[in-house]
């Protein structure tokens, strides 16, 4: 065992409803509880003044799959974040929004979002509750204003009644919409891969090649793809040619030193999340490994990569075997996250 079984992360019923939300109903403490895997660190998202409950999670799930939230009612969040691809847009470099518009970066996989300090490849979004605003309102994605979305939801007797039951409010507000999304997104926790079992002491969970691969991973990849979330959520240049169209983290910080840096993605479910990198430039894991061995661009490359990380053919093979152990089949097939409408 790497971790004591009993490290209960219970923070208990420490709720202080601060005065600034006095106009909001104070939710009664839910019977249900939000739970996190014991081998994970403390989460970042704190649920604000809205303790997690299943009613809000259920609304968020429904919203995630509802095409009502795109301007022409043709796409939902799930159109570009599908479960079998770990909620990435399986196989697509960039995704298509309404009217055939294309976004400019690869749709990220969605899991363990409550542990992410920042969102998007450039970290421009700072709170899980604020994340849905971007795809909803972006003209290349769902292209709907928050007021239009709220108007549609408030015109639906079904949504009104669901929200009323969850929030004790007659009119659906932006906050109710975003909190419901955030609670569903928080519930999407991927923690049951063979790697997780091994991490918690079940040695048989990984075969010999995978165990060798894990050692190679820990010697070469771990400093950025830190365990157990498999990302440290930092921004780094990993040896890609930088296109003038996308300055990465610099777009947010305006700091020239951040040019071409993107957030380190988690490697969980990696076999399902191709293509890879912020622009989906690599179709296969082999191409990704090739870039770490022989970077396209070593100018200002992250020092953890340096001139490249050389691995033997056997090491590459072991490492790839290990990466397969990051697939969380329970998560990929969990009916709790599937389409509740159809």
């Amino acid at each position: 065992m790497l971790l004591p079984k009993t490290s209960l992360l219970c923070l208990g019923l420490i709720f202080v409803f601060s005065s600034c939300q006095k106009d909001e109903p104070i939710p009664s403490l839910p019977q249900e509880v939000m739970v996190v895997p014991v081998h994970f660190p403390k989460a970042v998202y704190d649920f604000g003044n809205f303790p997690p409950d299943n009613k809000k999670v259920a609304i968020g799930r429904r919203l995630f799959y509802d095409e009502l939230l795109s301007l022409d009612s043709t796409i939902s969040c799930a159109s570009c974040h599908n479960q079998s691809s770990a909620f990435s847009d399986g196989g697509r470099q960039v995704s298509s929004g309404i009217n055939g518009a294309f976004g400019f970066r690869n749709a990220p996989a969605l899991f363990n979002l409550a542990w992410k300090p920042l969102f998007m490849w450039d970290g421009g979004i700072v709170n899980l509750e604020l994340q849905p605003i971007a795809p909803l309102t972006d003209a290349h994605e769902m292209s709907i204003s928050l007021n239009q979305a709220l108007g549609r939801l408030n015109s639906s007797t079904q949504y009104r009644s669901l929200f009323k039951e969850a929030f004790l409010q007659e009119t659906i507000s932006t906050q109710m919409l975003l909190v419901s999304f955030a609670q569903f997104l928080s519930s999407m926790v991927s923690y049951q891969s063979p790697y997780d079992d091994f991490y918690q002491g079940k040695e048989a969970a990984l075969n010999a090649a995978q165990q060798r691969g894990l050692k190679i991973f820990r010697n070469n990849c771990h400093s950025c793809h830190s365990e157990p979330l498999l990302s440290d959520f930092s921004f780094r240049r990993n040896g890609l040619t930088i296109t003038s169209l996308d300055s990465g983290r610099q777009r947010i910080t305006l700091n020239i030193d951040d040019r071409g840096k993107f957030m380190v993605p988690s490697l969980r479910n990696i076999s399902r999340t191709a293509p890879y990198m912020h622009d989906g430039r690599f179709e296969t894991i082999d191409e990704v490994l090739e870039n770490y061995m022989h970077p396209q661009n070593i100018n200002q490359i992250d020092e953890a990569i340096g001139d490249g990380i050389l691995l033997s053919v056997q090491e590459q093979s072991d490492l790839k075997e290990f990466l397969e152990s990051l697939d969380d089949k329970q998560f990929l097939n969990d009916p709790k996250f599937s389409d509740p409408i159809n």
Partner: protein, 269 residues
Amino acid sequence: MSYTIFMNFNSKLFIALILGFSSILTSCKKDELPDPILPTQPANEIGMFKIEFEHLFNSANFTLNTAYTTSEGEEVTFTKLNYYISNIQLSKTDGTTWSEPESYHLVKLSDPISTLITINDVPKGQYNGMTFMIGVDSTRNVSGAQTGALDPANEMFWSWNNGYIFVKSEGTSPQSSSGNFEYHLGGFKNANGSNAIQNLNYNFGSSTLDIQPNAAPQIHMMVAVNHFFSHNGSTLKVADMSTLHMPGAMAVGIASRFSTGFMFDHIHN
């Protein structure tokens, strides 16, 4: 509809219960010391006041959809002018201050009612100064989904680079190559000189804001919108730059110049 989240208990994956993942409860606090939670004041100890913002352009009454000429000779017609006034604080001659709780106000010239801000539950007394921000304090720029004036549905929020748009001005100008101008000013980070928050400080001079039960004193502010384009030799020409949608030095420069147009005029008690 009923199901339970994460009920996948087993001995290896011992799962921790967690309610509200952390004790971080700072999301409603401002940068400065938190406001003390005061007991409710009795009605005979409190009053209210209003702040009226009257807008001018080169001394003429300013309204949307009217053409004005800047000092650089450009013609500008605003179709939208919205800005945040936040963190209003009153001060007395003895140095004590009173801060409005939850002090976030969105002034929209398209909505005349919003140009008259009403502030209730102020401890009675004579006040001789006021401070406020044009913009939104850094903490609220990075908090979760907000309500009221800070509701993102007010479209004063950048979805892709989180933070509030402190001042949103849009309109038309024949000097713009596109025919339009759009200046969205914001930015709260000190790094790279992109903090566009404007802290304004007024002394009422010989006037006093006298807060009493059953009184409705009013602070009259003049806003010289022409300062958006020029003041003291610093200028913005629509022909040079007609669109700005991001934080940074340009936004700070315009916000700073615009703030010089906010002038205390008088108080009616």
